[in-house]
């Protein structure tokens, strides 16, 4: 599903070069649920952004679902992202003045689905996260947990094979966090590959596999090779 080999990522400013990822290699198989932990600044978000084709990388190779992403044009990468990847963020990142229905609609618009198809998918996705009744609400009218579920619905609506979550529970209290985790597990059980960054050791343990990033590298070699 995801195959990164010797990925390097350097952020350069005028004065300093930060090696956010160095010699980063990771394989994730289809259907896996991988949790990613590590200290702050270790490169977790950087890794997710590269995995999600939001950010270019400086060295190494990356294959997503068998496709080498190196050298793809922006529109090809956007298409790939739109079809194969769902994003969930710590801050939910719902578009504030679109209601939940229209928020979930966004990726489907770029997918080019017809009106009926979009409506069906939006309703399915909202039903899956238990928000059917809230479709016409604005994000600000929902609780944090509900907002994150709406964001998950938006990530799911395009039926991506691959879900990338960056601290999806970081802004939620424990009960809500647990609910979201259960939802993710349920989604994973239906075949979606999930990579989730988290600071919560308990949640990390619930994943099938945990990898730790330290200083831009996968720290636990034994885990990395246990695939």
């Amino acid at each position: 599903m995801l195959k990164m080999e010797h990925i390097a990522k350097v952020f350069r400013t005028d004065t300093v070069a930060t090696h956010a990822l160095r010699d980063f290699s990771l394989h994730v198989k289809a259907g896996e649920f991988v949790s990613v932990t590590g200290p702050s600044g270790a490169g977790k978000t950087t890794f997710l952004n590269i995995a999600g084709l939001l950010e270019p990388f400086d060295g190494g190779s990356y294959q997503l679902d068998g496709i080498s992403v190196h050298g793809l044009s922006d529109s090809q990468r956007s298409k790939l992202r739109n079809e194969k990847i769902g994003f969930i963020f710590q801050g939910f990142n719902l578009i504030p003045d679109l209601n939940i229905f229209d928020n979930v609609d966004v990726p489907l618009r770029y997918r080019g689905f017809g009106r009926a198809e979009r409506k069906r998918r939006i309703e399915d996705a909202l039903a899956k996260v238990g928000l059917s009744a809230r479709a016409k609400h604005l994000p600000s009218q929902l609780s944090g947990g509900q907002q994150q579920r709406a964001a998950i619905a938006r990530a799911l609506a395009g039926e991506p094979a691959f879900l990338l979550a960056d601290e999806p529970t970081g802004n939620l209290d424990t009960t809500m966090a647990r609910q979201v985790m259960e939802l993710l597990e349920q989604i994973n059980s239906q075949g979606t590959t999930i990579v989730m960054v988290t600071h919560d050791p308990e949640l990390a343990r619930r994943a099938q596999r945990n990898i730790q990033i330290v200083d831009g590298e996968v720290a636990d070699l034994t885990l990395r090779q246990a695939v």
Binding site: S78, G91, N93, R109, G112
Partner: protein, 448 residues
């Protein structure tokens, strides 16, 4: 996708009403100011005789005397803009032009015998009969006077449609008569209105003063001792000049001397006819130079209607300069809008980041934001039309009544207005849209 972007654009405009209104207003004002000026220039440079542009020519001759030249009666090319009666009569003898006319403006009190209408002073065109053929003015009823009426006094008249409507309710009035200064004139024909704006055929009384609704034959001059309702300048030098005291002789003196008061047009459809006519004019000039009627060296100008407008300075440099200034003002407005748009769109950059994460390509983000600028542009354009109507209304208050009649925008200028606003806003929107589409999504997501 277009409808979706349009929907998003409208939502975004509503979300930031103040900044959006400011942009719309800025564009509207810029567009309105430049459109007012463009309309003005468009009106002034309008050539109502454009179709005859390569057929008909206004004639000028270097006929001033060698005394201190009076610049008021010459055009940019240094030649007087009017001809003398003596010259006109000699040129009318030529049969080279397909049609040719000598004419001037006159005025008289117009009334009917039965006093049905209130007498009024009207502008009249006194012309040889080819006027209607040369300028392509069609007859509705009757026909033009006979050739003889161009030489002998025949009290005949041709009316245009509006005049006929006013005096005779538009009936076929041929055979009836009207009174000019109390004297009856028989109506021989009714023509369509001929009132080009500007009045290319006669610009001697300003850009719009040359049109008339009543036409009299040229042969009436001596009988009425007609003087132009307009300009006449005499340039008479010499030692033994005696201005006659007897009125008839006096008038004869004017007709036979260097008094300039006639417009002269010739229809010369081919290059050969033009050359032949120039030869004819040259011959006449040289002959008259021998007997000192012309004192200067031979010079002439044959100007097409558009050259004639240019030569008469109808589109003045003032108008042109003002138009450029207005367009510069528009550029300033566009730059202002760029700043406002940039501020507005960059505030939306985190939304753009989310959209990118959800699969929008750079070009999709670019299009969406450009379309938003386009929407603002259309709104600015529509408002700009309103403003420019106000602006033109203001201009109408400033200019003379004749000019005011024509200072209206037509479909052409309105279309240009909207297009201009659209173009302006798209131009203004390009850079901000490009900027926002170039921002790294990872970056804008982080900043949320």
């Amino acid at each position: 996708m277009f409808a979706y972007y349009m929907h998003l654009a409208w939502r975004s405009v509503k979300r930031t009403p103040v900044i959006s209104s400011l942009m719309i207003l800025t564009l509207a004002v810029g567009v309105a100011v430049s459109m007012t000026m463009v309309t003005l220039q468009h009106v002034m440079s309008n050539n109502g005789l454009a179709e005859q542009n390569n057929r008909i020519y206004a004639l000028q001759l270097n006929s001033a005397s060698t005394g201190p030249a009076s610049s008021t009666n010459t055009l940019k090319n240094g030649l007087p803009y009017l001809l003398s009666y003596r010259t006109a009569m000699a040129l009318l003898d030529s049969n080279i032009p397909e049609h040719q006319i000598a004419m001037h403006r006159w005025a008289a009190a117009v009334s009917l015998q039965d006093n049905r209408v209130k007498p009024s002073k009207e502008v009249i065109r006194v012309t040889t009969k080819d006027f209607f053929a040369l300028f392509g003015v069609p007859f509705i009823y009757g026909k033009v006077w006979d050739k003889q009426a161009d030489y002998d006094a025949q009290y005949q008249v041709v009316l245009d449609r509006p005049t006929n409507e006013r005096l005779f309710n538009g009936e076929n009035s041929v055979g009836r008569s009207i009174q000019l200064n109390g004297k009856p004139y028989q109506i021989v024909g009714i023509v369509e209105e001929f009132a080009p704006q500007p009045s290319v055929q006669d610009l001697s009384q300003g850009a719009f003063g040359g049109n008339a609704g009543i036409y009299l034959p040229f042969g009436l001059h001596r009988a009425l001792s007609m003087m132009p309702y307009g300009t006449m300048s005499c340039s008479i030098t010499g030692d033994n000049i005696q201005f006659p005291t007897d009125p008839v002789e006096q008038y004869n003196f004017i007709l036979q001397n260097r008094c300039f008061w006639l417009q002269y047009w010739a229809e010369l459809p081919t290059a050969q006819s033009k050359t032949a006519f120039v030869d004819y004019v040259t011959g006449y000039y040289e002959e008259q130079r021998k007997n000192d009627f012309f004192e200067r060296e031979f010079k002439y100008a044959l100007s097409t209607p558009s050259e004639w407008l240019e030569l008469n300075g109808v589109v003045s440099n003032d108008t042109r300069v003002m138009t450029w200034m207005a367009l510069t003002f528009l550029v300033v407005c566009i730059i202002n809008s760029i700043a406002l748009l940039l501020a507005k769109l960059l505030r939306q950059s985190s939304e753009a980041g989310v959209r990118r994460a959800l699969g929008a390509s750079r070009s999709a983000i670019f299009s969406q934001n450009l379309l938003e600028s386009g929407l603002i542009g259309i709104l600015g354009g529509v408002l700009g039309i309103g403003f420019s109507q106000l602006g033109l209304g203001f201009v109408r208050m400033l200019v003379s009544r004749d000019e005011a009649q024509v200072v209206y925008s037509d479909a052409y200028t309105i279309a240009i207005t909207v297009l201009l606003a659209l173009l302006a806003s798209m131009l203004a929107g390009c850079y901000p849209a490009w900027r926002i589409s170039k921002t790294s999504p990872a970056q804008s997501l982080k900043s949320q």
